[in-house]
């Protein structure tokens, strides 16, 4: 029992702190809301410590295999915790200016995080689904938090309707896989599919729906529709949350279900992922060019990036999975910084979410222009930033498994992608600023955002540690 509880100790910590903050926040007057903020940060820090302290070399399966505590889940949880913590720091001033600096914000964020963590250590389809829904429902609510304007409500509505449809499809697929294999336990399903048991038609159908559900959560074409609307409509702070940590959870979801449970159907899902990756990279990069809103542009960039990540994934070997994990982590770090800069530039009554708002940033503040430059270069995959290695690792994995043409197309679409990332760089460095108002931000947000931006550079120059960590995590769990 003790080891079993140990396995879910981080989740317990997040759950308990969410409940404590929910209650404690009721007794905190609005003027002292930062008490809740620091409580949340403390909870995140404590959970980070717990994740590190309970990390074990051998994977632990707890609660009849419902939960798996392995290196992969630990690594993903760490990054998710860091991402959520940074998100709260970056968005503090933004939330305050918009009356969103409330207890619900922290509690819902923690619940969303809990959902992600459940997904990351899921050992059964049920646990996956449980985590997924907890995360999604919290996110729907977060998107709709800003009730006094219509865009967030519309975004939340679309997100919810489409998300519910996708969840339904996922459940449908899971039920078919259960029908074919007689189990919802990921390991048992893996045994059954690898052993060639089960009705292949049923499995194929189940796979189609499960992959559809995964594709929706990743936001890849043709299940990408919600991404731009939600990124655009949600308050930037929430966009930052949606654009970062859930990608890690979605990766865990993809890895555990496709590489774990449905390993025996590798050939089938590879074909599907090729289509998804190809469509996402082409459409995502192409459509991003026409955007004038940076949140919408970054949404399409997410679509393209997730397509790129899938390309590594579909190589379906150690290199491929490690590369995809590395790519996801790199993307999350970059995304954090990108929305962090958008948040930094925003102020009361000004969202700074138009591409035009970046005009002449270099004149206003060379440092933030430089950080944004690093972000854009990382997204475009230009060395010496982290994005370069992410792209390199994925491309190499794909090429080594013989997906040469896919890789070439991927590079060509990256060229298209580089175009719109560099447009922002050009606006920052060569255009005259439209408004000269000084950039004000809290000291902690400045320091952390700077560190985040510099991390893109440092990890780009010394990627071996992160790469080693990713390889280790994947090796321990799947090889």
């Amino acid at each position: 029992m003790k080891t079993e509880l140990n396995a879910i100790l981080p989740e317990i910590a997040v759950l308990v702190s969410a409940c404590v903050i929910l209650i404690a926040d009721l007794f905190v007057p609005q003027a002292k809301r930062h008490v809740s903020f620091w409580l949340t940060q403390f909870a995140l820090l404590a959970t980070i410590w717990i994740v590190v302290a309970t990390a074990q070399v051998a994977p632990v399966r707890a609660f009849s295999g419902m939960v798996v505590d392995d290196m992969l889940s630990d690594v993903l949880k760490l990054f998710a915790l860091v991402a959520v913590s940074l998100m709260l720091f970056y968005s503090r001033a933004y939330l305050m200016a918009r009356g969103l600096f409330r207890g619900e914000m922290f509690v819902l964020t923690l619940f969303a995080l809990l959902g992600m963590m459940v997904m990351m250590s899921a050992g059964s389809f049920l646990t996956v689904y449980l985590g997924l829904e907890l995360m999604s429902l919290s996110l729907y609510a977060l998107v709709a938090m800003q009730r006094d304007s219509s865009a967030p409500s519309e975004a939340a509505m679309k997100y919810f309707v489409l998300g519910a449809l996708a969840s339904g499809m996922l459940l449908y697929g899971v039920s078919m896989i259960y029908g074919a294999t007689g189990s919802v336990d990921l390991d048992r399903v893996a045994e059954a599919t690898l052993g060639g048991q089960g009705n292949r038609t049923l499995l194929a159908f189940g796979l189609v729906f499960v992959v559809s559900g995964i594709a929706f959560k990743l936001g890849v074409v043709p299940y990408h529709m919600w991404v731009p609307d939600v990124y655009h409509g949600a308050p930037t702070a929430v966009t930052l949350l949606i654009g970062t940590a859930p990608k890690l959870a979605a990766f865990a979801f993809t890895l555990r279900v496709l590489a774990g449970a449905l390993k025996g159907l590798e050939f089938d899902w590879q074909g599907m992922l090729v289509v998804l990756a190809l469509l996402s990279m082409v459409l995502g990069n192409l459509v991003a060019i026409a955007q004038s809103n940076i949140k919408r542009m970054l949404a399409y960039s997410t679509i393209a990036n997730m397509g790129f990540m899938l390309m590594g994934f579909l190589a379906a070997d150690l290199n491929g999975y490690s590369a995809a994990l590395f790519y996801t982590v790199a993307y999350v770090l970059t995304s954090l910084a990108s929305f962090g800069v958008v948040l930094l530039l925003s102020r009361e009554g000004f969202e700074a979410d138009l591409i035009e708002d970046f005009r002449g940033l270099n004149r206003r503040s060379p440092w933030w222009a430089f950080i944004m430059l690093l972000v854009m270069f990382s997204l475009a995959g230009v060395p010496p930033t982290l994005g370069f290695y992410a792209k390199f690792a994925v491309l190499e994995a794909a090429v080594n498994q013989g997906f040469v043409w896919l890789a070439v197309v991927a590079v060509l679409t990256s060229v298209v992608g580089a175009f719109y990332y560099l447009r922002i760089v050009k606006l920052m460095y060569f255009d005259d600023p439209v408004d000269d108002s000084p950039i004000v931000a809290r000291g902690d947000a400045r320091a952390l955002l700077s560190a985040n931006g510099i991390a893109l550079l440092v990890l780009g120059i010394l990627p071996q540690y992160l790469m080693g960590l990713c390889t280790l995590a994947v090796t321990q769990s799947y090889f």
Partner: protein, 966 residues
Amino acid sequence: MSLALLLALPFVGSVAAALLPTNARNTAATWTTAVALACVVQFGLMFPEVRDGGVLRQSFHWVPDMGLEFSIRMDGFAWMFAMLISGIGTLVAVYARYYMSPADPVPRFFSLFLAFMGAMQGIVLSGNLIQLVFFWELTSLFSFLLIGYWHHRSDARRGARMALVVTGTGGLCLFAGVLLLGRIVGSYDLDAVLGAREVIHSHPLYPPMLVLVLLGALTKSAQFPFQFWLPRAMAAPTPVSAYLHSATMVKAGVFLLARLWPVLAQSELWFWVVTGAGALSLLLAAYAAMFQNDLKRLLAYSTISHLGLITLLLGLNSELAAVAAVFHIMNHATFKASLFMAAGVIDHETGTRDIRRLDGLYKVMPITGTLALVASAAMAGVPLLNGFLSKEMFFSETVYLSSYPWVELALPLIATLAGIFAVVYALRFSFDIFFGPLSTDLPREPHEPARWMRVPIELLVLACLVVGVAPAWSVGAFLDAAALPVVGGTLPEFSLAVWHGFNAPFAMSLVAMAGGIAGYLLLAPLLESGRLRRVPIMDRFDGRRLFDRSLVALGALSRGGVRVAGTRRLQMQLLWVVVACLVAAFAALQGHGVGWGDRPRVPASLEFVLLWSIGIACAIGAAVQAKFHRLAALMMMAVAGLVVCLTFAWFSAPDLALTQLAVEVVTTVLFLLGLRWLPKRIPEAVRHPTLRDRARRGRDLAIALAAGGGLAALSYAMLTRLAPQSISPFFLSHALPEGGGTNVVNVMLVDFRSLDTLGEITVLGAVALAVYALLRRFRPPRESVEAPRQQRVLPADLKTDLVNPRTAPDTALGYLVVPAVLSRLILPIAGLVAVHLFMRGHNQPGGGFVAGLVVAIALIAQYMVAGTLWVEQRMNPHPVRWIAAGLALAVLTGLGALAWGYPFLTTHTAHVALPLVGEVHVPSAILFDIGVFAAVIGATLLILIALAHQSIRATRKPATAEAGGG
């Protein structure tokens, strides 16, 4: 000093320079010069080790998981480039010290300058190709920052973006090419790649790989058709242009071509692409250079032309040509850097770079003038200067080439023409601005520059002279060392003499000289007059148009993509998702096939078919009316739900039927309450539906039919199979002996899976609270506040016997009296039914959940017919207390088990003998079930009442409405 330290030195220097205070101009310049000079000295000392084909290597672990080593590798060729980079870097640093204004934050400039130098050295010293790409893109980054740091001119914007886009995309192409090359060879290590010539040439991926690598190289070196970015990058400050756009960065492209020459060259594809691009760049850029009026743009075109010459030489697949290319790289860097610096001096001292305005400067700046004259003579290929030597080698290569006849004819012709053009533009650069009457309308009073600003130019021009006069003595050894690795082992026979006798190349040189002078005399007046606004003929071949057009095309494509995949309408978004699933599902069907199972079928009866026909008809009707007439749709949905209830009953699932019925009623009531805020009916669009509308609807119908039919078929296929295993036998056999009840569903709910139930009722309570909390502050829109239509049809002053029950003085008055009375009568009966359902629940259909719903329905019926105020004047249902009591009871029951030492929620069945009734068995689960009952009543009521309260609030005045609450 080790290679690694040497490579790191500029970067360390860069960080140090960045830390200097912003006004430390002299310190930063001295520091930069010292760092660059240290590199020159250290590289210089390494010459003996690389001179006879020796290679210096050093490697570190980099990304071991991907088999990548950070390896530094220096052979003669890399050595030559390293010397050029650090040597010219030193000179430009000195020059920049005087060029920069003290007002600028100069240390940042020098910091970026050093970082750029480091990146360039990284390219040439890379021992593996990924590392090369890494530094390659790094140069893009730093060059961009260098230009961005210091632009004053608006035309710099366009140019910088163009430069970044072109070289950036080229870099990505190179990256793709290198990935393919690595795949072909099996390693990214340069030594491994250089040793795998046969493998590479015979591999099927050779053509795409070569094209991608060449795209990278040609964009970086501004070769046709990508030449357009370089002249536009000339808005950059002159030290940047001198360093980046002549001596180093643009040379990276030809460096790469030469680096991979031993393994990639010697193929038809290489010949056509490289030679073609080189020849066109050589000729067209030289032609365009003649017509330029800006000193720096002239030099930029001349740079493209000279790089074209080098590219052309490398494309000829001849070892001698490759040697000539290496030699020309050295020479071009020397004279072009000095020319750029001279142009900068002129710009700095006169305030303009317009050739038409500059005249007779020799009188005021004789030393600079002499230097510029010599350097431009070198550029034109005048004998006794270094440019002449490599140009002669080039001419002879074109003459003695063996290829197709037309190529053999065309190449010398192109070479001679380009030579003529070169003489013309060299004359324009030198003769035009230094001789003639002194201009009078210059922005500044021209004079000689500061002493040290001229020294770098003097040194470079001296080098041009020395090499030109005594080539074998001065650079022979260096050239041998540098060319050896390029040709791959053995140097071809060549002689570095100034005089080779009167041969064809020399004749070509003479023609070029004569033609050039004649051309200049013809062209100069035309250009001076300023009537020639653009370059004749060539203007149309400018790649900029191609660039612009491709941007426009990309934009159009992007907008097309937005139309296809960027819809913001939820309907279309749903359509996409559904269609994608349909397609994927049908694709999954391919190759597998699906058939019906062999489970024995229940024979259909007429009644059942009729029942379902009604259900299906109502469901379709609901779908059709959903948009236009919500009330009708809702009613039909209710009928469809009823049919489902009956079906459950039909198949002997009374429990399920009962629950379903209660849920149906509750949801219908919820909908009805919600409908209040929506218009009852949307009139169908006045205009007649067009063909397009019909087509759209037809499409939607087809998709709906396909998706629905598909799902139905799948369900049928599933249902006609026997489930592989099921938990129902377990529950069926254990319900009575272990749960003490014959109603398996209820036993499961309150006993076997009671923890689940506890969770569910908790969620139910939470949901009810959430709905309450959300609606508590809900303000309905003004337009929905007005009275319903039924109440509006009568004019206000009309006497009527119909009294609104809300305003009626007595309960017996007002319309809807009969249903109101009926519903009041139902209340106690419903309570009785609920008790009945509850009590028998453990053994027969019923249970706490259904009983709770029945009570809730009876209560809400009061609200519906009599109005909220009337009901609440007479009773208060206290839904929150119901929830709290229910949850508390359920938890306490569970905890009770703990008190007796059993696990949480264990049921104990007691048998009690009651008088009259006889023996009754009372499982403790009954208490739990009461908890469920109470929680269900509370939650349902809370939600329904919260909705019902909207009707009161809407009728209140806005001012007092704020005080209203549930």
